[in-house]
Symmetry: C2
Subunit: 456 residues, 2 copies
């Protein structure tokens, strides 16, 4: 029986069997205590044994990390838990010797990254990856209960309209012996898809095709970027959520983003109570308060122009001068969220710094884009209303040097029953960083891939 | 308001607004009927308008595929639905002309594959992709309610122990100008990960690391195989579910597989009633009965040896002679499931035809592997108990030519608190083929990738 079900349903006097691992072991001459976990519950169970156990001597030799099966009866606890397990039988299933790197002491996160296959056994990573699991399910639950269809958009693409330098190339050719054509170019005939093939960095275009059929869709899958940047927030393989909604304008999109985020945070607070308590104690003393506050806050909505006004008025010497034509720097994001003391939607960005598919506003200068800035997380989501007019989209693409012939099917969506529609993207790891208080993206991905690092 | 919510909560006399598309349009001189859908509901809504509509002439010109917004009142229906919408206003949002490829007639699936961006608007693909969505959520719901942790295992890997010919290579190198070392080999220093990198075809190894921490885990994500095979059941990009369970033997694994499959099918029958009804009428007259039967059946469990006995006894001239040392052919699978008239688990396979990580049985000849054969679907899941003993695993890997030094971290799992454990893989598309009755994998993937085909 899973420990979490025992803790939920069993009471003092019940006989149970548990299967799991030793997290800690305190030995006395006549008895001993095993701190037991099986990973289904963040709470552990104390196991007590003594000389009445036939294999007392053998039990005493069991080290931290051993896999065991224990039969026994739940009895009143001497500690602060409801009960402990008085063992009638402790069976060793898998040995673990002193070389085991995970010992009951504080390990640095850097060290734990070097044993990425063992670190999920620590309390910190049990908390982080359980919350990652809860957040993933909360996302599905939110969208499913709001009539969205989950769409698996493809990762492989042969249209490089994102710019091939930002995408990984995939091939079945032998890189050591690439066949060339007469003109000296790679001969792709022998490659599985017969063409240069890439891994796309977004499912948005395909998502739009499905939003034009199902009205409300979302994607949730791995995403790849070739960025050669070694920061705390960049990884080359990460997960992303990209909802796309037909008959939805920018205001409607902000409503959805706000409702969705509150729904995820509420779910995690409710279902990850023990994990959040632990992270609050050991990682970020503000975590629980921050999350509870978000659920009860009203998100602010300001334009990019108003945001720059605010930054210019502030009595601060900026490293990057706030500018009506430019992006907003990290220091600005921080100031704005602290000023409002709430999550802030910034809308209507200068069109030249935003993507080609965003809808131009009637001022001719800005597009209907929106970034959500969250206190303690920075930019958590980015979205926009999409240009639904065929001619305008072609013109904007031309101006920004995007070759729409490569994606004629996407342009078709503006020909056949087009409608105003909007969508956003949320980096899943950025959300997990926010939900756990853990600072480095390498610590919220089971086996992170960053430049030069693709181990395990 | 989404149509599905209107159908659930609104009644005759209520005023509503709907936003969606015209599926069909029947025009009379004095009035007209629009068959309206918005994709949230498989049921459509009949919209009635007449000369009292100010823009009557304009409405009459709206063609199939147009995006519209309609205000009106729900009134008693003349047809077989509960009500229809008497329009007070029909607003054209997005035009659609006669060149629109999706017309209200029967299109072949081959033709619809050539308009993969538009085919989700047809009834067939509305049904297929809604069921795909339901099945995906049913999988999450099953595992979440049984204490499993959803783990995002990495797709990129630098350890090619699967055999690099079966994996796609990924690179940031310029294939037209690959730098070589002095010895004439590719210089990977400039590649993002500094090493030959591949897309793995399985998350199992990483999943095992997490099962040794959380007891019960599952993966659910895209998977890639380089197979150059153009059949109805092969795609190069597909989705897969790979659960892994600690303290679970082969019998326990079969219990889980059976319970999970019944749970998914029940969820789809309950939440996709209209879609299943449609597919039953137009794709497979046996579909509903087949699915309902599965939920109520008891899965049979036989050994590979017993299966071969059965095949040998059968009065059939086999194309492939049944053999105690060999795999079971498609014709055999079919016979076995028809013989038992139920799903059949076949266990204990000859060790030489199964993977290196599977646990050897005490007979020294077979491994604790299990395939699930389902009537009308063939092999739906494949799993095994894993070899948890370090020495035995090393020996088996050596015999099968697997270099375990490349995956020393995986071998560590057998050193530190190892335990008996099992897992299986289920191809998601194979499940969707089973659930929908649609025969070709290209018709259950939004944008399929097969050899030579990576369009859209």
């Amino acid at each position: 029986m899973d420990l979490i079900d025992i803790l939920k349903t069993k009471k003092i006097g019940d006989e149970v069997r548990v299967e799991g691992w030793i997290r800690n072991h305190r030995r006395q001459k006549e008895f001993g205590f095993i701190d037991f976990y099986d990973g289904t519950s963040f709470e552990t169970l104390q196991i007590v044994y003594d000389k009445t156990n036939a294999n007392f001597d053998e039990i005493q030799k069991m080290l931290v990390g051993c896999a065991i099966i224990v039969d026994g009866k739940l009895v009143e606890s001497s500690g602060n838990q409801e009960y402990e397990l008085k063992a009638s039988n402790v069976l060793l299933v898998g040995e673990c010797d002193e070389t085991y790197p995970i010992q009951p002491k504080r390990h640095t996160q850097e060290f734990l990254r070097s044993v990425a296959h063992l670190r999920p056994r620590t309390r910190l990573f049990q908390a982080v990856f359980k919350i990652r699991n809860l957040a993933a399910y909360a996302i599905h639950e939110y969208f499913q209960s709001h009539n969205y269809v989950y769409v698996h958009t493809p990762l492989f693409t042969t249209s490089d309209c994102e710019g091939e330098n930002q995408m990984f190339k995939v091939t079945t050719l032998d890189l050591e012996n690439i066949n060339k054509n007469e003109d000296g170019k790679v001969d792709y005939k022998a490659d599985l898809f017969g063409k240069p093939t890439f891994i796309t960095g977004t499912g948005q275009l395909h998502g739009e095709a499905y939003a034009m059929a199902f009205k409300k869709i979302y994607t949730f899958g791995p995403t790849f970027r070739t960025e050669n940047s070694n920061t705390k927030t960049h990884a080359n393989e990460f997960w992303m959520i990209e909802p796309e909604i037909a008959f939805c304008d920018l205001d409607g999109l902000m409503d959805i983003e706000e409702e969705m985020l509150k729904s995820i945070v509420s779910y995690v607070l409710k279902n990850g109570e023990e994990e959040i308590k632990f992270l609050n104690n050991f990682v970020d003393k503000n975590l629980k308060e921050k999350l509870e506050k978000l659920v009860n806050s009203n998100f602010v909505r300001i334009t990019h122009h108003e945001a720059v006004d605010l930054l210019k008025k502030a009595d601060i010497k900026w490293e990057f001068t706030p500018d009506y034509e430019s992006d907003i720097a990290k220091e600005h994001e921080k100031y704005i969220t602290e000023y409002y003391n709430a999550p802030v939607f910034i809308t209507n960005w200068p069109k030249d710094i935003k993507a080609w598919y965003m809808k131009e506003n009637s001022d001719g200068k800005t597009v209907a884009a929106v970034d959500l800035e969250v206190p303690g997380a920075g930019e958590l989501m980015g979205g926009s209303q999409r240009e639904e007019d065929y001619e305008k989209l072609v013109k904007r693409a031309e101006n920004l040097g995007v070759d729409t012939e490569l994606i004629d099917w996407f342009m078709d969506l503006r020909k056949y029953g087009s409608c105003y529609h909007s969508g956003f993207g949320m980096g899943f790891e950025r959300l997990i960083i926010y939900l756990t208080g853990v600072e480095n993206i390498r610590d919220v991905i089971p086996f992170p891939r960053t430049p030069g690092n693709c181990e395990y």
